[in-house]
Symmetry: C2
Subunit: 203 residues, 2 copies
DNA sequence: ACCTGAACACCGTTCAAGT
DNA sequence: ACCTGAACACCGTTCAAGT
């Protein structure tokens, strides 16, 4: 909480939080480990007591993001019991806003700057859990005969790709001309979700 | 072609090509301008005669990627006249394989490491053109009464998000457990495309 | 156990100087 | 007009030394 904590006790967490702040201000390209250390009030070599290298710190940031995402997914399910369509919408909505609110963290999580095959076990598990939650939602929908009669994998992959693609495109700033406010994003999300549900082809 | 060309004449293009090679070998994080210069056979300050800074070189790489993408889109349309469903499939397929074959270039194009609001005019135009081609395909489909009776923007955005999301997730290595061969990717693309066309909900 | 400061090899960028 | 090489301020990482 206060400066005393930084110098003994919780430097690890402090470094992660500082990294997130600097990341969302300067972007992934502008983030240096030395700057994080300085902002956290320690020497440039102090972080090496807590993280193997710069990548390990970035992985810790990504993991925090995945944990938030997973919590949101669980929340979406709990808030709308027995309504897979609403569950999926709110899970997607959380995803969208997480990505839009912390685009640099999102890039770290999804853009492969950190290569998934090199991820530590903790990160891999947390990431897998959030995908698992989405799959659970769709499974519910299939069991309730709401979703199409296709392999769960196909439905999940398509839903995931759409949400992911829309979010990343927004986070990367590709629609910054069309979208500015949070209300815009909400609207965009709803329209895309509806199109995803009913399909591109005439019904 | 040969070393003589490097030292006078076409250093600019040579640097772009060298950058692409090193990029796909070392990743965006491992690429240094000095290494590109060295690999191209010039001093580390020579690139500055042709590019304002490192970002400008990376933009040139991204632009080449967008041009390839746009060419693929045009090709997809030309090869399947009067068949928007096939046009869209092949456009998506090209997108998918471009991203999978040159994942690092793709990240440069789409992941927002270069922020679109800072892009030079040439890059912005080339990028816009490839989206325009996709929109044209869907417009064709609407006119032919094949696609759903929704705003073109909704259909385009949904299709684009799905293709983009699937491609980026693959490029980032998020499905490297499920997918290995090119045939796998082709299959995956077909299944997702079919789900996108018909929607998640029962018909 | 945790942190510091010097050191090393690297980087992006600039600029006087060479051809 | 195009390229070089020294120079500067920065970076990630290591390691002996301090508390």
């Amino acid at each position: 909480m206060n400066k005393k904590t930084y110098h003994h006790g919780d430097l690890r967490n402090s470094l992660v939080d500082t990294a997130i702040t600097l990341l969302d201000r300067d972007g992934i390209a502008g983030l240096s480990l030395r700057a994080v250390a300085k902002a956290a009030g320690v020497s440039h070599s102090a972080p090496y007591r807590h993280f193997r290298d710069k990548t390990a710190l970035l992985e810790a940031v990504a993991q925090k993001g995945y944990k938030n995402l997973h919590d949101s997914n669980l929340h979406a399910v709990a808030e709308h019991p027995d309504d897979p369509v609403q569950q999926l919408y709110h899970a997607g909505r959380s995803y969208l806003f997480l990505v839009v609110n912390q685009p640099e963290v999102a890039k770290l999580m999804f853009s492969g700057v950190l290569r998934p095959e090199d991820w530590g076990q903790a990160l891999q598990q947390t990431a897998q859990a959030s995908i698992g939650a989405l799959m659970g939602i769709i499974e519910n929908g299939k069991n309730a005969s709401i979703f199409a009669d296709k392999p769960i994998e196909d439905l999940t992959l398509t839903a995931l790709s759409t949400v992911h693609g829309l979010s990343m495109a927004l986070a990367a700033g590709h629609f910054s001309d069309k979208v500015t406010s949070e209300a815009d994003i909400e609207q965009l999300g709803m329209r895309v979700y509806e199109t995803l549900l009913s399909g591109l082809l005439k019904r």
